[in-house]
Subunit: 423 residues, 3 copies
């Protein structure tokens, strides 16, 4: 889909680079889709269909999967301009050999049949990985994930910590933690021990990163264990102050463990959860542009030995990320996240990073995918934009040769990730 | 002025789509200009001339119109780089048959003579509408507008509510309201009845929208009538709290009436009024980029049946608008407003919307004009940018055929407006 | 490096315009570099090298300069994608006749030798100025600078006031002020007299501007001398309120003196100082995007006769600058500052200004340089972007002829500066 010859040549070369996907939501026990319903169950499709008027009826578990697919395909006619539609048609072309020009509800049966037949093959996962040139994929593991029963060289564990930081008031989280660590924590020191044992479990099982998503107003600072103990004692999810103290205190503790266990800490900054109350599953979250990375200055200063891989939710914050990464040795730019994972935003954010952030400090892209099939269209989208920017901003002005441009792409898509996460 | 052949071809096709202008300040009793003074009286010209040093003398009503025109044309030499200058020269070319390359003060007499002669024709309004391919134009009507004496099929009434929400402390507003509704309101319930009768009057007379402009800090929430009554009782424009309660309470009431009268609610978000104290008429207002659509989450959640057509004043907030429109079924992107109605901002805001907001949920453009002659250059500006973006982002990458691209343009410029506003 | 023929032709013409550099940190007693160490000592290189892992060891004064150069060149391989690398290679090509394609540590000796030889010539300063087409360069002078011993026609003094506004609590600043003015100030009135004598000294010695950099939260308002006196009496750098009163009060006083001495006031808005505590020299500062020019509304209104030349640190604030400059007659857009002095941000900020701010009210670019050699690559960067934008947005759409486009460039690079600063 690149009509610029130079960009297209660079793109072809860049596609030869084996990918390491630094962030996904793949379930390693069931990484690939088994039906079109698995593909269109991705929240992007359900929320866009809902946005143009589909009620939540078709999403009920009781509904026959093909009915759900039909309903989403029906509504897709109203959002066939979006990049999410492009991902979908590229999946259908690449993996289902779809030959048409525009997918509509009339294609439902053919696509579903085709998907079931192909995705039912024993080696489907391997086929998808091979065709997508995906070598390693980072996971998002709950803190109590046993991390067993899958190939941890291919699917790299990553400790996701939102529950620990933001939901420790919930009895089910506490009981999951107790179960995972073998003991109830009583106070700050106990919690510290519990979290330490999670880090041990994770690093023993090949985890290569700790990760969390954070709301726009989050501003971490160190909390003494005594204060944390006090706040934990009254934590009930209602008192705002104890809630904040616990969140911030646990977060700071995680950074300390990242330091002692030598794990990079992925911060995904800026999401407000549950804003659209009546949204579809995973379709409730938005953001507030009024946030600043300056809120993390204390953290970046306090942990010079921890590498912070930062994703920002709004493109408006990208310049802060560029500048912080330029100044702080321990701040890395990480991918194009969610609402900024749209071509015009990727393009402008990427251009700023390529001109102002040391190339060694950039992680180009991650898929954020739930099913392997999305790696190909999402990385293709990124690679096309990257190829065009390299052509226009580096090769044509004779700053880089073609080969140097491809080397830069290799850093962004592979070598930096290997070095930073030690994989 | 498009030098890209594909874009120019698309532009030509797009120009055939009859326009519905979803927001203007046209006076339906005197819609077209009658002189060049009417054209250059548009606040853009007076504020730009003032910005480069013209004092307010020439703007006094006592000044001979041609002197005023001469003064603005004289200062125009210092802002002939702006898009507003482009609108003006396009008006002179399209409507006055101006053939030159650069308009200066030397053209004053010719242009004024020409304008008077042509604009004095009995069918000038028809000529302008025909040449501009304008079919329907939404108005901005004061709440006490009788809405009679004009063609309401062509000039669609729209209830503008700034006075009710922000100026109810002013005796003249209260007395206008009393006169319009036939009774003084005493408390919250009375005000509710009064506003209800305005909605009845407006919808009976063909109104198709309710509209308001809002300051950056505005954050609506429901106010019980009792609290509203209390605040109304002490409202004097000085006490900040009662002022806020009244503004927010009346605003929420408007949303309730939009629901019961089935009217879309146009929110134009982000303007700070009277910032430059010594500015020319309508040239006092600016904005504060620190605002967020998250302030409207309560509203969007509370009124799933009301369609909110949102304009944002700063391009920086466009990503919030894109994301909110993608998630909330009742949020529509609406045009490119005022300080964002400038080609580089239109281009980047439009690109983001085209890639991320369902096409059925976008109103492409509105003129915001006071005189009909501005429809042509303003919509042309938008259509050129749209044609170029469609060429580069949709047709050339083979996502859309030419015909599909033009269909998308038709949605943005016409069909979505017809559906959303039921015209 | 421009591959577009039209843009390249415009660029060539634009390069003939003799430059006036409205802001630099040149030391007029030693304006040019004397070695490669002087070039790579620019904080951009030390901070980028540090950002990719160079510790501060090589930056110690005791280290042999060539060792320092070698260390920075060694680390440069990891940031050869940045615009700062481009400035450096362009300096090596233009001034040292470097012929290679990629500078690495292997070039260290040759480059150092070459630099010492060439930069040691008696007329090196003249050579650099001539080759760079630089006619006048504004300085950044401490308030107690004697302003003697250099050519003040070429190096235009400018009163920098950060110390007075933000560091008056420091004994050394007070004693410098006492020494410069010949008397200790006791209260607000005394401080007013002292600052008045600085303005007299500066304007007598050819100063053409007053300048300051400001943090994101700064919001000036008038402070009566009595209140200022009270705050000065307790000012110790710890009490936040007295600190704010003094900063704001002194700042307002500066604006008053700008009015009486008829000096433009350069405001560089948005820097947070000392954020990265362990940074290299001048590599500690960042910003918070949450700031607004609306904070300066009182100031702009209060001083209609003072010209405020505004730089913003974040590209996100550029639209506020564009709009304020469009509305306020006394607000001028000034250059592309620091973290926004990166091609993608310059391009988008420039495009918005060219389409929406009167051309008479724009100062295109300033170098911010510490050594003369940086004028050439930095202005070239800007001129290339300017030429491309003029080609794409003005000449190709036939809004401007080539000659008119070059005239616009002349305004931005020279004529506006001459008029605004009276040089």
């Amino acid at each position: 889909m690149l009509y610029d010859t130079l960009a297209d040549e660079l793109y072809t070369e860049i596609c030869h680079i084996p990918l390491i996907d630094a962030h996904s939501h793949i379930n390693p026990h069931r990484p690939a889709a088994r039906s079109l319903d698995d593909i269109l169950g991705y929240h992007y499709y359900t929320e866009l269909a809902h946005s143009v008027g589909m009620d939540k009826g078709p999403l009920a578990p009781s509904v026959e999967p093909r009915e759900r697919v039909r309903s989403i395909l029906y509504h897709m006619a109203q959002f066939d301009n979006t990049v999410q539609y492009q991902w979908f048609i590229e999946i259908c072309r690449a993996f289902l050999n779809y030959q048409g020009n525009r997918i509509g509800v009339a294609d439902c049966t053919w696509l579903c049949d085709r998907a079931e037949k192909l995705m039912g093959q024993a080696d489907w996962e391997e086929q998808v990985l091979r065709q997508s040139n995906l070598e390693k994929i980072f996971l998002t593991n709950d803190f109590d994930d046993p991390l067993t029963g899958f190939d941890r060289q291919r699917y790299v564990p990553c400790l996701r910590t939102d529950d620990l930081v933001f939901h420790l008031d919930k009895p089910e989280v506490r009981s999951r933690l107790a179960k995972a660590t073998g003991s109830e924590f009583g106070d700050g020191a106990g919690l510290r021990r519990a979290i330490g044992s999670l880090f041990e479990h994770f690093t023993k099982h090949g985890a290569k990163a700790c990760a969390i998503s954070l709301p726009p107003e989050f501003a971490p600072f160190p909390v003494p264990d005594r204060e944390l103990s006090k706040a934990l004692a009254v934590l009930d999810g209602k008192d705002a102050e104890s809630r904040t103290i616990c969140s911030v205190g646990v977060f700071w503790m995680l950074a300390e463990y990242c330091r002692s266990f030598d794990l990079p800490f992925d911060l995904m900054i800026g999401v407000n959860r549950r804003i659209y109350e009546n949204g579809v599953y995973q379709g409730h979250d938005l953001f507030d542009q009024r946030t600043s990375l300056i809120q993390y200055a204390k953290l970046f200063n306090a942990f010079p030995d921890v590498t912070f891989c930062i994703s920002v939710l709004s493109s408006g914050q990208n310049q802060e990320l560029v500048s912080h990464s330029w100044i702080f040795p321990n701040v890395i730019t990480n991918g194009h996240w969610w609402y900024s994972n749209v071509p015009p935003y990727i393009e402008q954010d990427l251009r700023a990073r390529l001109h102002a952030v040391p190339k060694a400090k950039q992680i180009g892209y991650y898929s954020d995918m739930y099913k392997l099939e999305f790696g190909l269209p999402k990385f293709n989208m990124y690679r096309r934009i990257l190829a065009q920017v390299l052509a226009d901003d580096f090769v044509r002005p004779r700053l880089y040769t073609d080969a140097q441009a491809v080397e830069l792409a290799r850093l962004l898509l592979r070598d930096n990730i290997r070095r930073i996460f030690d994989v």
